[in-house]
C-alpha cells in the first residue's frame, strides 16, 4: 500500500509571501503534524507505559511506525520565509543569513545593528 503525500495538500494555498515547492511541502508537513499530534502522543504514551500488556504496546508501536512520514515532526525543517532556503536560517528572524544581512543593512530589522569596535 502506498501512502500519497497528496492527502496533506490543501486545495487552496493559504500562504502569502515567498513560496516554492519545497517551502509548500514543508508547510504541508507542519499542517499534517499539527493535525495528528494528539494521536501520535497517545500512541507514544501507550508505548512507554510498561503497565499495559505487551501486545497492546507492540500494536501501538506498529501503528505509530506506519503513520505517514508527513506526520513525523523530524520531517519538519525550518526554511527561510523570504527565500525558501533551508540552510543557516535564524530561528528568531525566520530568514537565512544572506537575507538577514541584506535586511539588516537596509534597516528593516528593528534593533539589529552592525557591530563595530
Amino acid at each position: 500500500m502506498t501512502k500519497m503525500a497528496g492527502l496533506f495538500r490543501p486545495k487552496k494555498l493559504d500562504l502569502s509571501g515567498f513560496t516554492n515547492t519545497r517551502l509548500i511541502r514543508d508547510h504541508n508537513k507542519r499542517m499534517a503534524f499539527e493535525q495528528t499530534e494528539p494521536e501520535r502522543q497517545a500512541l507514544r504514551y501507550m508505548i512507554r507505559n510498561t503497565s499495559l500488556p505487551g501486545r497492546v504496546r507492540a500494536q501501538a508501536q506498529l501503528q505509530l511506525s506506519q503513520m505517514h512520514a508527513y506526520t513525523r515532526p523530524t520531517q519538519i525543517k525550518n526554511r527561510c520565509v523570504e527565500s525558501g532556503t533551508a540552510r543557516s536560517v535564524f530561528r528568531d528572524f525566520r530568514i537565512n543569513r544572506y537575507q538577514f544581512r541584506m535586511q539588516a543593512l537596509a534597516g528593516e530589522l528593528p534593533g539589529v545593528k552592525k557591530a563595530s569596535w
Partner: protein, 106 residues
C-alpha cells in the same frame, strides 16, 4: 520519621499539585502526557495568507465599483504582445488523441 508517614506526605503533595503518585517508580509514560503540544507553534512558521488585491476586487465588483490592478493589466498586455509575435502559449490538448498527434509532428 516513619517511611509510611513520608509516603503519605508525598501522596498528599501529589494530590494537591495533581501529580502522578508512583512510589514504585514504574515507567508509566506520564512524561508524554505532560509534554505540551508543539503543533500550533510549528504550524505558524510561515506567514499566513492575508487580503490580496483580488479579494478586494471580488468584494467591490458586485457593488458596481470599478477597480484597476496595474500589475494584472501589465501582464495581460504583455501576453497580447507575445501573441502578436507568435510567442503565445500553445493550445491546450483536451484529448489523448490530440496530444499524441502533437507529438508525432516532431
Amino acid at each position: 520519621m516513619a517511611q509510611s508517614r513520608i509516603l503519605d506526605l508525598v501522596k498528599t503533595q501529589c494530590r494537591i499539585f495533581s501529580l502522578n503518585f508512583n512510589p514504585q517508580r514504574l515507567r508509566l509514560g506520564n512524561k508524554v502526557l505532560r509534554q505540551r503540544l508543539r503543533g500550533p507553534a510549528l504550524a505558524a512558521w510561515y506567514p499566513k495568507k492575508t487580503v490580496s488585491f483580488r479579494d478586494l476586487q471580488n468584494t467591490y465588483k458586485p457593488l458596481g465599483l470599478t477597480t484597476f490592478d496595474e500589475a494584472e493589466d501589465d501582464r495581460e498586455e504583455a501576453i497580447q504582445i507575445a501573441k502578436l509575435r507568435g510567442k503565445g502559449r500553445p493550445k491546450k490538448k483536451r484529448t489523448a488523441a490530440e496530444s499524441r498527434s502533437a507529438k508525432k509532428k516532431k
